[in-house]
């Protein structure tokens, strides 16, 4: 399995943890995924979500920024970023 595929699997795992509100575990695997594939906007977006969900807004913002930097068309990341402005 190459790094990209592994990152993809870790992303899925991260999403699973997120859905179950296990935010610390989600962050751990998503950070691992991000190290294996630093050009995935989706991984940054999901990391941003987890941070936002646990109210770490500063970290959330920087992850969303990275997500839109990698993929300017990722509308969801842009939406979340817009909502965080001024918070």
């Amino acid at each position: 399995m190459n790094n990209k595929e592994l990152a993809e699997d870790l992303l899925e795992l991260g999403k699973f943890y997120f859905l179950n509100e296990r935010y610390e575990e989600a962050i751990k695997v998503l950070q691992k995924a991000q190290k294996l594939n630093s050009s995935s906007a989706d991984i940054y977006y999901n990391l941003g979500l987890v941070y936002e969900a646990k109210n770490s807004l500063h970290e959330a913002r920087s992850m969303y920024l990275k997500a839109v930097e990698v993929d300017p068309h990722l509308a969801l990341a842009q939406e979340h970023l817009d909502r965080l402005v001024g918070k």
Partner: protein, 229 residues
């Protein structure tokens, strides 16, 4: 529904008028600058260009039917004072005036303004408070000693129910709502979360990471609760 008038379309007046309109209120906007009036006519129910220090002009447009008038005339102290005075004389029930200095505020109060606001100062205080205590989301003073406070829960609250935390008995503070972020997968298969508000929390409700508590109580009791972490 109340009828509002916003007099003076600077940045402050403009955003007051726009927000009121967005909330479905009838808003009459007045400014002496034609350009500003035109811009506001996009959302306001009525936008009129006139000199609001002219008593006859104000009467002619039926200003006495307005329930709440916001005087947000920017730099011109004299105009702001005169307009406030005229509005009260004409019989506008509630006049809210924007003050630039504390002297200005005193005068406005003396001549009958029902409420005097300092947008810059108030915003400054809020920004400063939010920097010192970033976990406070909203703070509403009900009176000098009572407030409603919205804050993110400290980590030692998570996993416990309201009953276990015993906030009411320990701190004499009432939890009136819990805001939760609930993760879900949207139609495109992307993860996201939505905010749900529990407006009637009971003892069995459990606090999770990232929750926001809305509490009401005495300021000193709320402060004691917030030190608990």
């Amino acid at each position: 529904m109340k009828h509002f008038a916003v007099i003076g379309l600077g940045k402050f007046g403009f955003s007051v008028a726009k927000t009121l309109s967005e909330k479905g209120c009838e808003v009459l906007v007045i400014d002496s600058d034609e350009e500003k009036v035109r811009e506001a006519s996009n959302f306001a129910s009525q936008a009129i260009q006139l000199d609001a220090t002219d008593e006859d002009a104000l009467k002619k447009i039926g200003i006495e039917d307005i329930d709440v008038a916001i005087v947000s005339v920017g730099e011109n102290l004299e105009a702001s004072i005169l307009i406030t005075l005229l509005l009260k004389e004409i019989g506008v029930e509630e006049v809210i005036a924007k003050a630039l200095t504390s002297h200005h505020a005193k005068v406005l109060q003396k001549i009958g303004a029902d409420r005097v606001i300092f947008p810059e100062r108030e915003m400054g205080i809020r920004v400063a408070e939010s920097l010192v205590t970033p976990d406070i989301i909203e703070q509403i003073r009900l009176s000098p000693s009572y407030e409603i406070l919205e804050f993110t829960v400290p980590s030692n609250f998570t996993g416990k129910t309201l009953k276990e935390l015993a906030i009411r008995t320990k701190y004499k503070v009432n939890v009136i709502a819990i805001r939760k972020k609930v993760p879900y997968v949207n139609d495109e298969g992307e993860s996201d979360f939505k905010e749900e508000i529990n407006m009637a929390p009971d003892g069995e409700d459990e606090i999770s990471v990232g929750d926001v508590l809305v509490v009401v109580g005495e300021v000193k009791n709320i402060d004691a609760l917030r030190k608990e972490k």
